[in-house]
């Protein structure tokens, strides 16, 4: 960022609202029985319904409603007892019916909020939600040199759109919000949050205004950003662009922009590309969506512990806010951490282990977290051995590295690599005797009061034992022998 820009962001503030589209984790599509599985061959997961053949009718997938409600409850929304579906009309080759079934005036979830981790200054950050509604996804156009093809596998995959109020003030805010939102979606099993498979997409509404101003500036919409990084970069760019326009006395045009991740800039779409009159009207093929209070309560009863609650619990159980925050950020990581705990006395050492060793392996792998790292139960076994002084911490690290590659269990790995600590007192005593015999001068110094030399003797014994001796036993024996 240049100096002028830095100065300008002190004078101006950005006002940002996000619209996030995420696929819901259902086995079948929203209005037909086709599979939602990603990665099938083109047009393999299709039927007359999701191809929009003449005469077909939609039947709503119950699980879609449950997942939308779960998300709504996790974000403190009001669940609408009665909502309807609408048709949103526009022509595009990937839209088989010429309209998308969505919810317009009556979303299934209203209001609500998501709390972000506090800012560096410790200020709480709450982002209010406008709504969450249910809709169907379209297919996918694939452009070749001379032809465009359409794959309808994605057509009819269920989506929810989560619309925030313009409560975000920076690209960092937006990133924090997206991460928190994704964590919630994963906690409630609503979404896998996989951006690379197009299952999580974001549109940003961005405007700028002088700090302290009450009125909003003219906003632009940046469409279809499919990674957190792009969202942050695009907002950063767009805020700078708008400030420059306002600073030079110009007016920001109300436009829709596309982010070009290669050139790292936004460019306006032609008005023809987005200026649709969607001609919404109630979908006559679907009855109103009635959500009885009992259903909401049933879903509420089945809700898992949410990230904020889990974080609070970890802190009550002795972890620092930082540790708790890192662990709960991803539900898989938090679950992993908890699965290492049975039989362990010290949960802090487990937390450290997961945060350092395990997360490092996960980061270096292309695989999803659960596939990249050894089973949590095996890491738990490793940590229990450290606690029982059966192995040293270093031995545990060596074993862990081997387990990542071999997929073998903790005990087998320890045995195979001969990493078990020697606690056999006679062997250790023999090693101590040798060291004492070899270092008469140091022994004399120690006995004369140079306590610091004790560490030297421990190290020497450990070295003689090939690093596998139980340090506690070395300590005890050495103390006895040196005291003579």
């Amino acid at each position: 960022m240049t100096d002028t820009q830095t100065m300008n962001t002190e004078t101006y503030e950005a006002v940002i609202g996000l619209e996030v589209h995420t696929h819901l984790l259902t086995r079948s599509k929203i209005f037909c029985g086709c599979s939602t599985k990603f990665g099938a061959g083109p047009n393999e997961n299709v039927c007359p319904i999701c191809m929009g053949m003449p005469g077909v009718l939609p039947v709503l997938n119950r699980r879609v409603v449950e997942l939308a409600i779960r998300t709504g409850l996790a974000a403190h929304c009001t669940i609408a007892p009665y909502s309807i579906f609408d048709r949103k009309s526009y022509f595009y080759p990937d839209l088989p019916k010429g309209y998308q079934i969505s919810q317009y005036e009556t979303p299934v979830c209203k209001g609500g909020y998501i709390d972000l981790p506090p800012t560096e200054n410790g200020e709480p950050r709450r982002v209010r939600l406008t709504r969450i509604h249910i809709e169907e996804d379209a297919g996918k156009n694939i452009h070749h040199e001379n032809a465009s093809l359409v794959d309808f596998n994605r057509s009819g995959v269920p989506l929810i759109e989560i619309v925030s109020e313009p409560d975000l003030r920076s690209a960092e805010d937006a990133g924090a919000y997206l991460r928190q939102l994704r964590a919630i979606l994963r906690y409630v099993d609503a979404s896998d949050g996989k951006m690379e498979e197009g299952s999580f997409r974001c549109d940003c509404n961005v405007s700028v205004r002088k700090r302290g101003a009450k009125e909003y500036g003219v906003r632009t919409e940046i469409k279809n950003l499919n990674s957190f990084r792009f969202v942050e970069d695009a907002i950063e760019y767009e805020v700078g662009r708008q400030i420059a326009i306002v600073e030079s006395g110009g007016k920001v045009a109300q436009e829709t922009h596309l982010w070009d991740p290669v050139r790292k800039e936004t460019r306006p779409m032609r008005s023809k590309e987005y200026a649709n009159d969607y001609r919404y009207f109630p979908e006559p093929d679907l009855p109103p969506l009635v959500v009885p209070a009992e259903m909401v309560e049933r879903v509420r009863a089945s809700m898992p512990e949410l990230p904020a609650d889990r974080k609070a619990r970890y802190m009550r159980e002795g972890l620092t806010e930082y540790e708790a925050g890192v662990l709960i950020a991803d539900r898989d990581v938090a679950d992993y951490f908890e699965a290492t705990l049975p039989g362990l006395k010290n949960r802090k050492s487990a937390a450290n282990w997961v945060m350092t060793e395990v997360l490092r392996v996960a980061r270096d792998s292309d695989k999803p977290f659960t596939e990249a790292v050894p089973p949590a139960t095996e890491v738990g076994a490793l940590l229990r051995m450290v606690e029982a002084l059966e192995i040293s911490l270093n031995a545990a690290k060596t074993a862990f590295a081997a387990m990542v590659k071999s997929n073998k269990g903790a005990e087998a790995t320890i045995a195979e690599l001969g990493l078990a600590q020697v606690s056999d007192e006679s062997a250790i005593a023999a090693a101590c005797d040798k060291v004492i015999a070899a270092e008469p001068e140091k022994v004399a110094e120690y006995r004369a009061g140079r306590d610091k030399l004790f560490g030297f003797f421990v190290g020497a014994v450990m070295k003689a034992m090939g690093g596998k001796a139980n340090p506690k036993v070395i300590n005890e024996i050495l103390r006895t022998k040196l005291a003579l």
């Binding site: 003449p54 009718l57 039947v59 048709r87 022509f91 080759p93 309209y99 001609r279 009207f281 006559p284």
Partner: protein
């Protein structure tokens, strides 16, 4: 017409088939022979399925020989070309679907197939069911079997004419604003539009989803009861379809209408209607009185707004329903440079004038800034019309009216005047707007020997009342349908 089995009613043929007095194959052959003879003059069918029909008939004979075959086993039917039929071209009388072969069956087709019914062919209609004369078919009109200079009515004109001309024993139509009842009336057959949601719409090509309903054409009220029995009932593929149990409709045909209160709405006997139509309906009402029913004048004050409301709601829904015909996945595709040109050219070439007119009307009615004034207002009028009927049914059990203000008009007479054409449905449209069941049945002839139809309307799901009253009228023998001239 050697043996003339095609002249039987469904009830008669079903009894003979099950008694093994006749075979489904012979019955089907007679229908196909009749089709071959009559089609050059009528054009009731877009596609005749001779081979498939004979295969189905043979299969039905095997089933009949085994005993315990269902009522419709071996019965030759005509299917409006708006129903998706697996493996059989389904055009909706449109160039845009001229070569479309669906990979699936409509739910009602599936049900009829399961009963062993025989499908002799796909019948003609106004393109996408938009019209009142079948003149809007891209493949030419269906002519009236009673006078081939006149229209068969529409949009289900082919289905009505085919039954009237004994090309099949019964047929399926759809009714959005009168598309079963008006052609039934013009052709002198029975046609019932059940309560909205009584019959599944899955696989029925949509015109106006909140108004479209499936129903049969038959030669008698009893036959209508038999067909409706198979058509009606819950369908997991149509979430607007009612789960309400289906009564035994034939049991309702007791012949007894003593104490039945018949409402006669004053708004349905209007200035300018053909006097013979009013006379025939009034004479039928006298018949009911002689059977022990009573008549009472009622009022449906919002009737005058029905056509306007209909043309907002129906066209709005149609504009979205027909958006899928874009040349991308199936049907006609024009050559074009880019997406927009592809849509424009495909739809310009594929749709006829009336379809384009309604798509434009509907698109306008839903446009930003017009929604409240048009679509929403139309829906509000619909509620008023429904309330009118609710109030009326506090005073009566059944409403009887003419089906149309006049008998079948001449080919071409109204083609250049869409508004006059729209008025053909003036007595039928409010029944769709209110979602009620309504039946058309013959009750007389005019001086040109053209059939006159009366309409029986009942509260939601009271199809039994309609069928009982219609059957009772038939039993009096007060009126006998004349044979068609073709």
């Amino acid at each position: 017409m050697a043996s003339g089995l095609n002249n039987l009613t469904i009830a008669e043929a079903s009894a003979k088939l099950r008694a093994r007095e006749i075979t489904a194959t012979n019955l089907t052959r007679d229908c196909l022979d009749r089709i071959a003879a009559a089609e050059p003059k009528l054009h009731a069918f877009i596609t005749v399925c001779e081979k498939e029909a004979l295969d189905q008939a043979r299969a039905a004979d095997t089933r009949l020989a085994a005993g315990n075959a269902p009522a419709l086993c071996g019965i030759p039917l005509g299917i409006k070309d708006i129903y998706a039929t697996k493996g059989v071209r389904t055009t909706c009388a449109s160039r845009i679907l001229e070569n479309f072969v669906p990979p699936f069956d409509a739910t009602v087709i599936e049900r009829l197939r399961a009963e062993g019914a025989v499908f002799v062919g796909k019948t003609n209609l106004d393109e996408f069911a938009m019209g009142s004369s079948t003149e809007n078919s891209a493949f030419g009109p269906t002519l009236n079997p009673h006078d081939t200079e006149r229209v068969s009515g529409g949009s289900s004109g082919g289905s009505a004419a085919a039954v009237a001309a004994h090309e099949c024993l019964g047929s399926l139509g759809t009714d959005t604003g009168g598309s079963i009842r008006e052609p039934a009336s013009f052709c002198g057959v029975v046609g019932i539009k059940p309560t909205y949601s009584r019959v599944s719409r899955y696989g029925v090509i949509a015109y106006a989803s909140s108004l479209d309903q499936v129903g049969p054409f038959t030669k008698s009220v009893r036959d209508a009861a038999i067909l409706l029995q198979t058509l009606a009932g819950k369908d997991v593929c149509d979430s607007t379809c009612s789960a309400r149990p289906v009564p035994d409709y034939e049991l309702a045909l007791t012949g007894d209408v003593k104490g039945l209160r018949i409402g006669v709405p004053r708004e349905f006997f209007v200035e300018g209607m053909q006097p013979e139509v009013e006379q025939s309906v009034r004479s039928a009402l006298k018949n009911y009185e002689s059977l022990g029913a009573s008549t009472v004048e009622i009022s449906l004050p919002h009737t005058g707004y029905a056509i306007a409301a209909y043309y907002l709601v129906a066209t709005a829904e149609a504009s979205a329903n027909l958006a899928r015909y874009d040349g991308i996945r199936y049907g006609l595709r024009a050559n074009a440079e880019d997406n927009i040109a592809l849509y424009e050219t495909t739809r310009a070439q594929g749709f006829g004038a009336e379809v384009k007119r309604r798509i434009m009307l509907g698109t306008f009615a839903l446009s930003a800034g017009y929604y409240d004034a048009y679509y929403l207002k139309g829906q509000k009028v619909r509620t008023l019309i429904r309330n009118d009927f609710e109030r009326a049914f506090e005073k009566c059990d059944l409403i009887v009216t003419p089906v149309a203000p006049a008998t079948a008009f001449k080919i071409g007479e109204k083609m250049n005047d869409p508004l006059t054409m729209y008025l053909s449905d003036i007595f039928t449209i409010s029944v769709n707007l209110a979602g009620l069941p309504g039946m058309a049945m013959p009750c007389g002839h005019d001086s040109n020997n053209l059939p006159i139809g009366m309409q029986l309307i009942a509260p939601p799901f009271a199809e039994e009342t309609i069928l009982r009253a219609g059957d009772a009228f038939e039993r009096t023998g007060a009126f006998k349908s004349r044979s068609p001239v073709v």
